[in-house]
Symmetry: C2
Subunit: 406 residues, 2 copies
């Protein structure tokens, strides 16, 4: 059960983006497990990918293709990650691109492949390529929900965000989807996420917008601290809604797009945490008063990764000593604990490094019992701040991951 409101909004079509899907029986039966995106000619595409050294074959190929073209197609399969699969895995990912290119009459380098699922098994490549033609035949503008559903693995709910905004009298759309529930600690990207707008933006700025927003969204979430081999996030601007191309970050229109994209990306990232494997609570860890952003981020992740903090929150137990311990072992040099304040929502639990005098177990337990809460830490040594989103650690996390594959 996902935490809080994870409902799909109205998924507005993005001019210049068509989506098709098919049942390819990669692993799952009776569901669309193959998704194809088609972008109108002239679209600008940017991507960020996992920094896991064991990155999957499709990640290698997507990165290489992005360097030499502005891709026209994405092809995504679920059920098999095509990671740890050696040369055969590379050949299979290349064969997928080649077949789709042939059917769609583009070059293979204009296709980006993506895979998610079990690591270390070879793709059933024949079944996969047989699904490409039916997927292409189903291409249409109003299939974002089908795409969000098609890319799910252990997710319990499809994940989407969609907004419309106006610049100079033109109405633009920003729509995106994401997937992921376990092996979630993105490093420069996430499990899988695709966001598109029909606003006109230069390719350089599409990448810049993606980098800026990934760093406050997908790069600030964790479920279990395990960075996936397949994390990929794609942002595309088709320009099909019209208007002059945005080519400078000084352009006021850039700020407007950045604002909308930040909101969409944060929502998509937080949806992954809300649907984290076994999650029963959604937790915001906000660290402020640091000398620099990195140390705020380190401490926030130290708290967000601590199995002891996460099990205490699962149990609604305000065992705040575990939060202090996690702050203390984050590895931040010269930390003066006597300057540290910690709050659970509005309840101060730690004042100047020790228990706050007016703190009561009842007040702490009241916040801990909520399904959403903020752990706020003030380091008292500077102006920097950072925020990380995570969930608790429950019996069901163990159950899901002890049972997966079986």
């Amino acid at each position: 059960m996902a935490v809080g409101d994870v409902s799909m909004p109205q998924m507005h079509a993005v001019k210049g983006v068509k989506i098709g899907s098919a049942e390819a029986y990669v692993r799952y039966q009776n569901r669309r497990d193959l998704v194809v995106f088609e972008f109108a000619k002239g679209s600008n595409v940017a991507g960020v990918f996992t920094q896991n050294a064991f990155c999957a074959a499709p990640v290698h190929i997507s990165k290489a293709h992005l360097k030499i073209t502005n891709p026209r197609y994405l092809v995504i399969n679920t059920g098999n990650a095509n990671a740890g699969t050696g040369k055969t895995g590379m050949a299979n990912a290349e064969a997928t691109c080649a077949k789709l290119a042939e059917l769609a009459d583009v070059s293979a380098s204009e296709v980006l492949p993506f895979s998610t699922g079990v690591i270390g098994e070879q793709l059933p490549i024949e079944r996969l390529v047989n699904g490409l033609q039916p997927a292409l035949e189903s291409l249409n503008e109003n299939a974002w929900l089908e795409a969000a559903t098609g890319i799910m693995t252990t997710d319990t709910t499809p994940k989407g965000a969609s907004e419309q905004f106006e610049i100079d009298g033109v109405r633009y759309t920003m729509t995106g989807i994401s997937k992921g529930a376990g092996m979630i600690r993105p490093n420069m990207a996430t499990m899988l996420s695709y966001v598109a707008t029909d606003a006109p933006i230069s390719r350089e700025l599409v990448q810049q917008l993606l980098n800026e927003t990934v760093n406050v969204s997908f790069n600030r979430i964790t479920v279990d601290g395990d960075t996936s081999t397949n994390d990929s996030c794609i942002f595309v601007a088709t320009g099909q809604a019209g208007g002059a191309e945005i080519t400078s970050p000084e352009d006021v229109r850039y700020s407007k797009v950045l604002e909308v994209l930040t909101r969409v990306m944060k929502r998509l990232a937080q949806l992954i945490v809300r649907d984290g494997e076994g999650a029963t609570k959604f937790i915001t860890v906000a660290v402020e008063g640091g000398e620099n952003t990195q140390e705020c981020c380190d401490i926030a992740y130290s708290i967000a990764h601590s199995p002891l903090v996460k099990t205490a929150i699962f149990a609604s137990d305000p065992n705040w000593g575990r939060i202090l311990a996690a702050i203390g072992y984050a590895g931040v040099p010269n930390l003066d604990v006597e300057k540290i304040q910690v709050w659970l929502d509005d309840v101060q639990i730690c004042k100047d490094g020790g228990a706050a005098e007016d703190y009561t177990e009842e007040a702490g337990a009241r916040v801990m019992a909520q399904t959403e809460m903020t752990i706020r830490v003030d380091l008292g040594r500077g102006q920097a701040k950072d925020t990380v989103y995570t969930c608790d650690l429950s019996y069901d996390y163990v159950k899901i991951n002890a049972d997966y594959r079986s």
Copy 2:
């Protein structure tokens, strides 16, 4: 239930070490929760302590006292960690030393205090100091088992190691105890461990021996990755069995002591993992072929901390892709995955970065079903190696930590 053989050996008395205990009702009822060590005059004492910035009041004071004296007494309470307790916590730890010093007619700086248990609550100092006199009255040489039992918290079994060895016709003893089951990822020390020998060793070398052996024992284990606020490890050489003092690491007797101490420390450290909260499997992660020890250690810990690897092992599921992913996100620069080999005991699961051709699920499952196994990784880029010990992640880990304090 602890994993494998965790039985207490015959705990040989160490000449010059006496141990007393008492029921002080710090938190637990009807058990000895206060332990006092007395060392003969002339003993040389060394210690290593947690690097957690939120280190406990007794850690602050033990470190300060060790700098100015060769301590004669240790006093240890369980049930309350006296961490995150501010100035009152410091005053309570100092009062404990002062009272014991008065009763034993030594200076307060010759007493080292230790606490373990819940973080963030004040010690019931009156009950604690009232237990000191009965503890002193019970001092005797044959109470190592009582001490090992007295310092337990969530441990399910007392932990001890004891050996006798001969140098130049003199028989010496090396005996030690440890405790800890959760919040285990020692950084320069462990939860609590006390090791003593009656061999004559200079103070400088006592510290050197401790540093050398901690780095292959307590600094190479993890249960949940949470570094405690109270980790402390003490090694004392009383010299009471006779012989000329060992004053140089070139002395052949130094090598003999190092060999015995390494074995004792590794056993005490591994006992903590075998009794890790919820543990059902004991796992050795051995990484070789690295450019340097640090990268071997980083990869070993990355595997040992991965909740996905740990839940797969709990389920006896040879889902080895999770091991590859953990190697890949360890942050080791320029890792060439095509040179990487991985084995589960004698079964090669990954060859040159992909699935080993003759690997079968049956072979992997056979090893995964064992209660003890070694995950061996060869990075194929150098001669360095390192080894880390850990356990699996089970329902009971969540249960224990969601229920603790309740």
